[in-house]
């Protein structure tokens, strides 16, 4: 069994994984939309995706905390191979989650709501970013429980002020400028660009999300035994 398959199976064995991936995106569709904007479920999905990514990184974090990484380090498997396999498995599951939401909203809201292909690309880049962020976040802690306890607070605040749980325009203008440095903001920005059909702005959001992903990956991929 390859590491990729093993990571996929380990992730799916977690009790919350399947509901998070398949059920919760459907529940989000029940949230009423605001007039003149994209369905609320599109931005709330950012929060769901963020927490799902954190859950999927659990296997990597626990491998380090339980000392499995030390055994892997002494085997012929390189750290890069181990990490890419786990990240690929996590990304695949998060992309599946995005697809579930997109297909379901295509059925519920119809094909005229937005450009679903661009939305899928935006979600894909966001998923990679959330996965890398979770990886980097976990490197700061020795216990997954502590890491999750703090993340649940920080993650909610990040999504709240970034305009994922409520529209960004309700925030004070000074705050709106400040939140641009947050990675989660760029999903809200991309969704707004998608709504306004501003292609350049959307591309910028996707690129910035990918750069954030790269930065977090550089921090999170360090081999800490």
């Amino acid at each position: 069994m390859s590491i990729f398959t093993f990571a996929l199976r380990e992730n799916l064995r977690q009790r919350l994984t399947l509901p998070l991936l398949l059920l919760f995106p459907l529940v989000l569709l029940l949230v009423p939309s605001m007039p003149g904007s994209l369905p609320m479920s599109f931005s709330l999905f950012g929060l769901l995706n963020f927490y799902s990514a954190f859950l999927l990184v659990r296997t990597v974090a626990e491998d380090r905390m339980r000392g499995v990484l030390v055994r892997i380090a002494s085997s012929p498997i390189s750290h890069a191979h181990y990490l890419t396999s786990h990240l690929a498995a996590g990304s695949l599951l998060l992309i599946t989650q995005s697809l579930v939401l997109i297909i379901a909203s295509l059925i519920v809201h119809g094909s005229n709501t937005t450009n679903y292909l661009l939305l899928f690309i935006l979600y894909c880049s966001y998923s990679v970013m959330t996965l890398s962020f979770s990886l980097a976040w976990n490197t700061m802690f020795r216990s997954y429980t502590t890491s999750f306890a703090l993340f649940s607070g920080v993650g909610s605040i990040l999504c709240l002020v970034s305009g994922l749980t409520f529209p960004l325009r309700f925030l004070p203008p000074a705050m709106q400028r400040m939140v641009r440095v947050l990675p989660t903001y760029w999903l809200a920005h991309g969704l707004e660009a998608l709504n306004e059909q501003a292609g350049a702005s959307l591309l910028l959001a996707v690129v910035i999300l990918l750069i954030f992903a790269g930065i977090f990956l550089l921090v999170g991929s360090r081999r800490r035994l």
């Binding site: 641009r180 910028l204 690129v207 910035i208 550089l218």
Partner: protein
């Protein structure tokens, strides 16, 4: 044992880079539109890539050049070049800094020029610190290596010394066996045969011949006794030899030495005798090399439990360092290996005190 916390140049590098980054961010915060933020993030990514993987600083020229080109259409991003100036300066690539420094001087105005200037200065400082640190590490490694070699050499010498002692004892035994066999053995065998002959003569009642045989036996035994005495005299060590050799060291020294020897040096085990001899030689060499004394005194006390050597001189020590030299350090190690101690007092007089307990035959 707690982990030693030390601040290295890489920590200062990261700290200063962070401070510079936040300074630039703060100065450009009001102009922070999405394109500028994108450039900021790209610069962060580029710097973090170098932190994570070790590339040659020359590769950073591509990043800096791209940023320079980008800053032509996005002037707000120009200040970010200061971070690259810091990077190049801290990696001691001052040549790479020149084109970007010139560009910054031309483009930036007013107080903003201070940012690249400070970046350059701080980068150079960090670079110099790193260079010095590397040199120190190299020197420390060399010293460690030298100490390791010296210790290994000492170990070998002491082992060789113990082997030599063992071999000399074997040789002594062989010599004793040879003497006993060659001289004493021959006479005793002859005496034994004569006793048997005497028995036979007495049984036959030949008293005259028996008396002759008895005289021969007495002669043989007297000869054996004389040869035994001779052999013992040959084997017996010269008890005063060591004492004479030590006294000769003092007497033949370039400066007059007032010395006293108390106790019997011959009672001291051979291993200690040799250390004692070396210690006196080393101490006298030191006096000749480093001091210009008017008075040198030495005293050696030997008893059944302790050997104590004290040497004093009033010469001025020309050495700038207060630490002991190689010879004394080596001597100290040998003394300590025998369970003894060596101390040096430096004041108006230079005093060397060596005490070694007498443990047994070898003392090792």
């Amino acid at each position: 044992m707690g982990r030693r916390i030390s601040i290295e140049s890489k920590h200062l590098f990261r700290f200063v880079l962070g401070v510079l980054f936040f300074l630039v961010f703060f100065l450009r915060y009001r102009m922070m539109d999405p394109p500028l933020l994108l450039v900021f993030l790209l610069v962060v990514f580029s710097l973090m890539l170098r932190w994570r993987f070790s590339f040659s600083p020359a590769w950073m020229l591509i990043d800096a050049s791209l940023l320079t080109m980008l800053s032509l259409s996005l002037p707000e991003a120009t200040l970010l070049l200061s971070l690259y100036l810091f990077y190049f300066a801290s990696h001691r690539n001052l040549l790479f800094c020149i084109p970007f420094a010139v560009y910054l001087v031309v483009v930036l105005q007013g107080l903003e020029l201070l940012v690249p200037l400070f970046s350059l200065l701080l980068g150079t400082l960090v670079g110099v610190w790193e260079l010095e640190r590397m040199q120190l590490i190299k020197e420390a490694d060399e010293y460690r290596m030298r100490t390791h070699h010296l210790e290994a050499e000492t170990e070998h010498l002491l082992l060789d010394y113990a082997d030599a002692q063992y071999l000399s004892r074997l040789q002594e035994r062989e010599q004793i066996a040879q003497i006993l066999h060659d001289s004493l053995g021959h006479e005793l065998t002859a005496a034994h045969l004569s006793v048997k002959a005497l028995d036979m003569l007495l049984e036959r009642g030949d008293v005259e011949k028996a008396k002759v045989s008895q005289e021969k036996i007495e002669q043989r035994l007297s000869s054996a006794l004389a040869q035994l005495k001779l052999a013992v005299r040959q084997l017996e060590p010269d008890e005063k030899q060591v004492e004479r050799s030590i006294a000769r060291l003092f007497e033949e020294f370039v400066y007059p030495v007032q010395y006293t020897i108390r106790g019997d040096v011959a009672l001291v085990p051979p291993a200690l005798q040799q250390i004692l001899h070396s210690a006196i030689k080393e101490a006298l060499t030191n006096v000749a090399k480093h001091a210009n004394p008017t008075k040198v005194s030495a005293s050696l006390d030997c008893n059944s439990t302790l050997v104590q050597l004290t040497m004093e001189n009033d010469g001025i020590m020309g050495q700038k360092s207060s630490s002991t030299g190689n010879g004394l350090r080596y001597l100290r190690r040998r003394v300590e290996r025998l369970g003894g101690s060596m101390s040096i007092q430096k004041g108006e007089q230079f005093k060397l005190l060596i005490s070694i307990p007498v443990r047994g035959e070898m003392g090792l």
